[in-house]
């Protein structure tokens, strides 16, 4: 455990002990959420750079058999909390438990998925512990900071990198004086990699008695209908994406046909999702998922910065647009100037003709 003295901080004029990197692990449909495994992969790397350990928090009912998978991702200590009443996420008891663990374990970094759960839970914790929280990070790094005003150098801070101002700028945020440094991270922007060789970890079970109180359960879940994610555009090798320019839900059918023929998936821009042309699960860009397919075919997409940020790492990009000057064209390998409604049927026709 390292102890640092915090100087000149109006927030916490105390000694704070800082140690490990913590990841809050989320359960979705009785398995660990992808975003949690992505965070563990990143958390493991950060912990390595800081020479500290990676710890995980797992709360639920009947979730202890997920411990093995967490250890496969490099978790040294798992804080396991199980209770009948914790089968589904509920703000107040979950927040009480995570806060309790953070106060006891004093992590230097706490990471959450930027899911409806993480985005409900993390601000509650940050508000209670009076510490900094950065939402929807797309990058996390370790680095130093020199504050000119107080002439203080801070070492090994968490750089929380996120798009801001509608995606037109990328900001690096730091929390020099408060711990833990909290961040939420979107699903799909970080890689998910288990250890080459799995390691044994320790399970610490937290007894909820004496921590949870009756008033933590005042909000009741009446019912929930949550479907297994059917669509997985994140891992699709080929993506046919449409923007507002596609014009209607009906017109998107053509994109589905092309995707079907090529063995790919269909994605959309935020504008297409907001217009109701296509479901939210398929949204690509800063407020959707980030994709890196082998081939990305952009149909009727002008290429707002927010969208480009979510697909620019595609290996090959074909842009189909009536506007010769659409921003998407500047990052495309091939630009076809024309109406997608004419181009797409040609692509289908010649693929069928030439594929072996």
């Amino acid at each position: 455990m390292i102890t640092i003295r915090l100087v000149d901080s109006k927030l916490h004029k105390i000694f704070i002990a800082v140690n490990n990197v913590f990841v809050y692990c989320e359960v979705q449909n009785n398995r660990l959420a992808d975003v949690s495994l992505e965070l563990l992969t990143k958390g493991r790397k950060l912990a390595g750079e800081l020479h500290v350990g990676l710890e995980a928090i797992l709360i639920g009912k009947g979730v202890s058999d997920m411990a093995k998978e967490l250890f496969d991702y490099g978790v040294r200590t798992l804080h396991l909390v199980e209770d009948e009443r914790l089968a589904f996420y509920r703000t107040l008891p979950y927040a009480r438990l995570v806060k309790h663990l953070f106060e006891r374990e004093k992590p230097q970094i706490g990471l959450f998925g930027a899911t409806p759960v993480g985005r409900d839970l993390a601000p509650r914790i940050a508000s209670s512990l009076k510490c900094g929280l950065t939402a929807d990070c797309t990058g996390l790094e370790i680095g130093d900071h020199h504050d000119k005003k107080s002439d203080t150098t801070y070492t090994n801070l968490l750089y929380q990198i996120r798009p801001a101002f509608g995606g037109n700028i990328i900001a690096t945020i730091i929390n020099p004086d408060t711990r833990p440094q909290l961040a939420t991270v979107r699903e799909g922007v970080m890689k998910k990699e288990p250890l080459m060789e799995s390691m044994a970890g320790e399970i610490k079970t937290l007894d909820v008695n004496g921590i949870l109180q009756k008033e933590d359960f005042v909000v009741e879940i009446i019912d929930r209908h949550v479907e297994e994610k059917r669509i997985n555009i994140k891992n699709a090798p080929i993506i046919v994406a449409g923007g507002y320019g596609v014009g209607s839900k009906e017109n998107f059918k053509l994109l589905f046909e092309l995707a079907d023929v090529l063995g790919g998936e269909v994605g959309g821009t935020r504008a297409a999702v907001d217009a109701g042309y296509i479901e939210h699960d398929r949204q690509i860009g800063q407020t959707g998922v980030t994709v890196r397919p082998r081939l990305y075919i952009a149909c009727g997409i002008s290429g707002q910065i927010q969208h480009r940020a979510g697909m620019m790492e595609s290996s090959m990009i074909i842009a189909i647009n009536t506007d010769r000057n659409a921003p998407i064209n500047s990052i495309a390998d091939y630009v076809i100037t024309g109406d997608f409604a004419e181009v797409v049927p040609r692509l289908i026709k010649y693929y069928r003709k030439n594929s072996k």
Binding site: L11, T91, T115, P116, R119, D120, A122, P123, R124, S127, S128, K130, C131, G132, L133, A135, D136, Q160, P163, A164, F165, G166, N168, I169, I170, A171, T172, I173, N175, P176, T178, V219, E220, I221, I222, D223, R224, H225, V226, E227, I238, L262, G263, D274, L295, I305, A309, I317, A319, V335, I336, T337, R346, L347, Y350, Y351, K353, N354, S355, K356
Partner: protein, 290 residues
């Protein structure tokens, strides 16, 4: 049903959804003047939920609370036109530089000066997309929260039943009052302005806005006390100055970078049978497609 006291938290934001070519200056900084200041979209969904409660529970009061510079009074007027009863503008240079923690502290202090049964906010604001202020305010007020709400299915003076929009489905929860809810963009849009209310409130002003007004105008204002939009400073909400503004903000911006995309050498193709067939052949040959 007993009338309820409803506070709607709203924010005036630059319209980052419609960023034009002139939105970024040549030096790479944001040209705020090129972006229109608007009522944050999901806060309008929040206002609609509040007005629906008022439709049901006659005599309910909808109070709009916003924090920002003087011109943020514009969104309070907009709210009055659409059906809100009253507005507060939390404004003070000392709030400048507040991050979400400092903002939630200030808003929680302001809310505490009022009576309330339910606080309704948009899920998130489009300039930061953090979705943090709502839950952080709820924590400071020590009340439950229900986030991502798309409908209030039932409300009484004791509890609400709300439907939440999650990534892959919905959840219905029952919470006692008082509660803070955040409203998702999939909730019904806000009703439009009502002509009679525009006539009634078009002269609503904060005291600061009145400073430049003519004497006639000030007389009109004195005769119609409902035209006053309250302005609150740090002192009015009895806040600890160390907990707001820059000093109350644990997060600091270390660096801002303009997003630059490297232009590629693009090949321009015609929408012709010949060009498209040769493209498809090329993609098959290099195994991009099977």
């Amino acid at each position: 049903m007993k009338p309820l006291k409803i506070i709607v938290l709203a924010k005036q934001v630059p319209d980052t959804r419609n960023v034009g070519k002139d939105a970024m200056k040549a030096d790479g900084t944001v040209n705020r003047a090129a972006l229109e200041a608007i009522f944050n979209p999901e806060d309008l969904n929040a206002l609609e939920q509040a007005l629906r409660i008022k439709d049901q529970a006659e005599g309910s009061q909808v109070t709009l609370l916003t924090m920002g510079p003087g011109r943020a009074a514009e969104i309070i007027r907009e709210g009055l036109y659409r059906g809100a009863d009253h507005g507060f503008l939390l404004t003070d240079r000392k709030f400048a530089g507040s991050d979400t923690l400092a903002t939630s502290y200030s808003i929680a202090r302001a809310v505490s000066q009022n009576e309330y049964d339910i606080i309704i906010a948009g899920r998130q604001a489009i300039d930061g997309d953090t979705a943090q202020v709502g839950p952080q305010v709820a924590e400071k007020l020590n009340i439950p929260q229900v986030t991502y709400v798309e409908a209030i299915e039932e409300i009484t003076e004791f509890y609400i039943i709300a439907r939440r929009r999650l990534d892959n489905g919905i959840e219905r929860v029952k919470s006692p009052l008082p509660v803070l809810i955040t409203v998702h963009g999939s909730a019904p849009p806000c009703r439009p302005r009502i002509a009679r209310r525009v006539m009634k409130y078009k002269h609503a002003r904060t005291l600061t806005e009145l400073q430049d007004a003519s004497e006639d105008y000030i007389r009109l204002f004195q005769d119609r006390p409902y035209l006053k939009i309250d302005e609150w400073s740090v002192a009015d909400i009895k806040a600890d100055e160390d907990a707001l503004g820059l000093s109350g903000s644990p997060t600091k911006v270390k660096k801002i970078e303009n997003v630059v995309f490297k232009a590629k050498e693009s090949r321009i193709l015609e929408n012709s049978d010949q060009d498209i067939e040769s493209l498809i052949k090329e993609l098959i040959d290099n195994h991009t497609i099977g």
